[in-house]
Amino acid sequence: MTKFSKLIAAGSVVAAGLSASVAIAGHGDTLAAVKERGTFNCTGHNGSYLGLAEVDANGNWKGFDIDVCRAVATAIFGTHEGHVSFVPTSWAQRWPALQSGEIDAVIKATGWTIGRDGELGFQFSNAYLLAPTKVLVRKELGATTVADLDGGSVCVPAGTAQEVAMAGYLERIGTTMEFVVSEKTEESEAAYLSGRCDAFVQWDVQLATLRLKAENPDDHMILSDSIAAEPVAAVVRQGDDNWVDIINFTLSTLVAAEEAGVTSANVDEMRANPPSPSVGMMLGVTPGYGSGVGLSDDFGYNIIKTLGNYSEIWERNLGMDSPYKLERGVNALWQNGGVLWPLLIH
């Protein structure tokens, strides 16, 4: 070993040690730090990410991911007003910002991958969205499924997961389509909107938002086929199990409330006369819901009262009460043919 390579080896060990000591947070440290600071630092965006993290005309954040951030803040503090701070974060900056402690969790349309969980060394919560890859077409084509597009063309960004998934799907159903590839997603979007191809493949939230960029949104429709799916979850630093539990309990509360029919409108009534012991426990009538992870027992009530259940958050930000009019699809409750399930409450 030469002197120089020894020096490099020593340097990288020191660097790894430094970053490891920061990356691994102790049990319960994050909650304690958030409580001491008085604000939960969550991810904003550097601009707007339609439907998930947007800025309204008054400079306030809104969107699905933003409401999930607010739900976590409400679980900790009883209210999110003044207790959640959205740190503008670019895509590339998510990981170092989390690692350095600038933010407490990444809740920003982030897919749960083996590489991120394993090699990058982060901890993922349960998925709160299953993002299906779908196909957008012009209505005038008269297509209802991808098979109807046989011989047509599809716009995809080169080398993306969407391109691979679409090629695999077409092979599976025995359909051939011409691929019009571009370097970037924006170029592909523009190519589709200018009519250079018949179809466009993307995650369905982005299809719904792309439709709004078209001259006449009603001319476009999303086909029913699901090409692929990506689990979207919150990300935290490795090693703080309690913090992961808090986020999982928060996400589960949103789904459990929808399942039990608890909404922001009827939550007070439900708390006064719980229809079942599990609803009573979730709303803090009987003890034990939050104390195990360092939260108050009525954190479920606080979340539903201020933000509503999963369905209310969905409809407000992505669904029928939003400009995007996105169907629940796979993100419905398991009873309704979707993939969402709450933790059992007892």
């Binding site: 904003g44 800025v55 503008p88 170092p96 938002t209 960029k213």
Partner: protein, 358 residues
């Protein structure tokens, strides 16, 4: 007398018609090309006019815009506050607006010859930046506290530019003088620092100060915007110091030697003899360095600083206005143009005033 004789010998200024014919239609082929060019220009201008003014919607809703074939300036009317002030709390926008006006006013003031004294400039800038930070951050005098993660928009972009120039300019003078030091160690080390900074892309420097620094030294390195300003100032200073050094080295050696023989000390020679002349010679590249720095501020979007560009992105980033990105970018380009064009006109005025190149 020779001059006036030449002037008399010049042909009289020909009438406009002849001049036009000479410049546009000297031969049939040139005439045809001129005609084709003019037709194309007229066609393009006509369409631009139709898009930008005739068929445009200036005030209205997104539905009005979708119905019209022209530009949708209504998005600017609806969301200009977001573009100018970013995430700053809505009811406190007057603070951000006032802060922005103070900075612009100070920029204009420091362009006036009356403020061209190092002491006056320093006092003016340090005071106004302190007032700006106090106003924006609040927490005193009954102003509510607004954290830096909520600063944004044009105000933030201008602040970053001003602070970069304010820190970068003195730093660049220091670097230029150190690099010309007669002690070999000082000049070599300074040269290496300058060349290292210049060989890194600005994005790398921004990423290092905003993202890597807090991992290596947690909690010890100030707020993100302050670190970003420090990084940009260093980058600015590295380039500007080389511009100044070229100005210094273009001066005849005799200037410095003459000053020495008069018994002037180092500081007097630098501040009274060398630097004023070097500045004058380096004026054109200095102006373009300022223009480049102003444009480079928009790179901070990459590290999640909510500047003018990010705010513009947020302005069209809503379900309602998603289709108006062209109008928003045109507007942002226009605002940038106003600033940078004023800067270059000011540079031209300075050159006339100082008779650079004469």
């Amino acid at each position: 007398m020779a001059n006036s004789a030449t002037a008399r010998a010049l042909p009289p200024i020909s009438p406009l018609k002849t001049r036009l014919r000479k410049s546009f239609f000297p031969t049939p082929l040139s005439g045809a090309i001129s005609l084709a060019g003019m037709a194309f220009a007229a066609w393009a201008l006509w369409h631009l006019f139709q898009w930008a003014a005739w068929n445009a919607v200036f005030i209205g809703t997104a539905e009005d815009c979708r119905a019209a074939s022209g530009a949708c300036w209504a998005v600017i009317a609806d969301r200009w506050r977001l573009m100018f002030f970013g995430l700053y709390p809505h009811e406190e926008h007057w603070r951000s607006a006032l802060g922005c006006l103070i900075l612009i006013l100070v920029i204009i003031l420091s362009c006036l010859p009356v403020f061209w004294r190092p002491l006056r400039l320093a006092v003016l800038w340090v005071c106004s930046l302190a007032v700006f930070i106090l106003l924006m951050r609040g927490g005193v005098f009954g102003l509510s506290y607004v954290g830096e993660e909520r600063w944004g928009g044009l105000t933030l972009s201008i602040f970053i530019f001003c602070a970069t120039a304010l820190i970068g300019m003195p730093l660049s003078i220091a670097l230029a003088l150190l690099r010309r030091s007669s002690l070999p160690l000082v000049s070599v080390v300074t040269g290496m620092v300058i060349d290292s900074v210049r060989s890194l892309p600005l994005v790398t420097i921004l990423f290092a100060v905003a993202v890597v620094l807090p991992i290596l030294a947690p909690g010890s390195s100030g707020t993100k915007i302050m670190r970003v300003i420090a990084g940009m100032a260093l980058f600015f200073a590295a380039y500007q110091s080389e511009i100044l050094r070229s100005g210094i080295q273009s001066l005849p050696v005799g200037q410095d030697e003459a000053a020495k023989s008069l018994g002037l000390g180092y500081w007097h020679r630098m501040t009274r003899i060398i630097l004023p002349q070097a500045f004058r010679r380096a004026l054109p590249p200095t102006v373009s360095q300022f223009a480049i720095s102003f444009k480079e501020v928009s790179l901070v979007i990459i590290i999640g600083v909510f500047d003018f560009l990010a705010s513009g992105n947020a302005a069209y980033g809503s379900g309602e206005w998603a289709f108006t990105y062209v109008e928003v970018y045109v507007f942002m380009a226009f605002v940038n143009f106003i600033f940078i064009f004023s800067l270059s006109r000011y540079g031209a005025y300075l050159e006339r005033r100082m008779r650079v190149g004469k």
